[in-house]
């Protein structure tokens, strides 16, 4: 399990929690993009943004303008598909442990490091797209955090009562 600091543009292989495929047996790892991490009470928690190799019309419709598509050659590390699509407005906050994150996996967007941003026109274009995407991703994560903090981890939103 990585205990060191994560880096900007890092791709994490993790069991991104989603409930719309409960019929699928076993865990289904996703290649997610690192957003931010914190250490609290000697435990590290990481915020990731959803990544998938499948870009279908439903995903495009639901997350229009929120997707960063990166070809595998532009990612340093072993990626399974040809292209990974990261979805900015679909985020998760996870503890950094083996329940969620594959510690042996190591990959990073190959156009984020300062020395590689200007390698080719594609690097430059992707870096510009990443900067804009990163902002949207962080804004989305912040919105999500606000909602979770306001509602607490369990219970009704403050303005709604059951009885």
């Amino acid at each position: 399990m990585p205990t060191s600091q994560f880096v900007r543009g890092q791709v994490l292989k993790c069991l991104f929690p989603y409930d719309n495929a409960s019929d699928r047996p076993g865990p289904h790892p996703h290649y997610c993009l690192y957003v931010q991490d914190v250490e609290v009470q000697d435990k590290r928690f990481v915020m990731v943004c959803y990544g998938t190799s499948r870009l279908d019309p439903a995903l495009l419709r639901a997350h229009s303008g929120m997707i960063l598509s990166v070809r595998s050659p532009m990612i340093k590390g072993e990626m399974p598909g040809d292209v990974t699509h990261f979805v900015a407005d679909h985020v998760a906050l996870l503890p950094c442990n083996d329940d969620w994150i594959y510690g042996s996996f190591d990959a990073r967007l190959d156009f984020v490091k300062e020395s590689s941003r200007t390698k080719t026109p594609e690097h430059r274009r992707l870096y510009d797209a990443f900067v804009a995407f990163e902002r949207v991703m962080k804004r989305a994560a912040s919105d999500g955090m606000s909602l979770l903090i306001a509602n607490g981890t369990v219970g009704l939103p403050p303005h709604i009562t059951l009885r």
């Binding site: 929690p17 931010q36 407005d89 902002r135 962080k138």
Partner: protein, 87 residues
């Protein structure tokens, strides 16, 4: 009275549906309990329910700081520096 009770039950059901829509708990494939919520702007956020509130607050603080730095970089405005005598 009967009508009032029916109305209250209806409201109760509606509130429950809104709650289920906004906040949803489920067990992920790895057996961990997860809380999922959708913000009014359409952001889907999930978290392991073992994540403490302190971590949420620390994360929010960091994200806000990142966004603020980005904004200052984009607009070219320098962040106002607080002088030592200012409260």
């Amino acid at each position: 009275m009967q009508q009032l009770l029916c109305f209250a039950a209806g409201l109760n059901q509606l509130a429950k549906r809104v709650y289920d829509w906004v906040m949803k708990k489920f067990i992920a494939t790895n057996g961990r309990e997860v809380l999922k919520a959708v913000t009014p702007s359409g952001v889907t956020v999930s978290m392991d329910t073992s994540v403490p509130l302190e971590a949420l607050e620390a994360m929010q603080k960091k994200l806000q700081a990142d966004l603020s730095v980005d904004e200052h970089a984009a607009t070219g405005h320098r962040r106002p520096v607080k002088k030592p005598h200012q409260k």
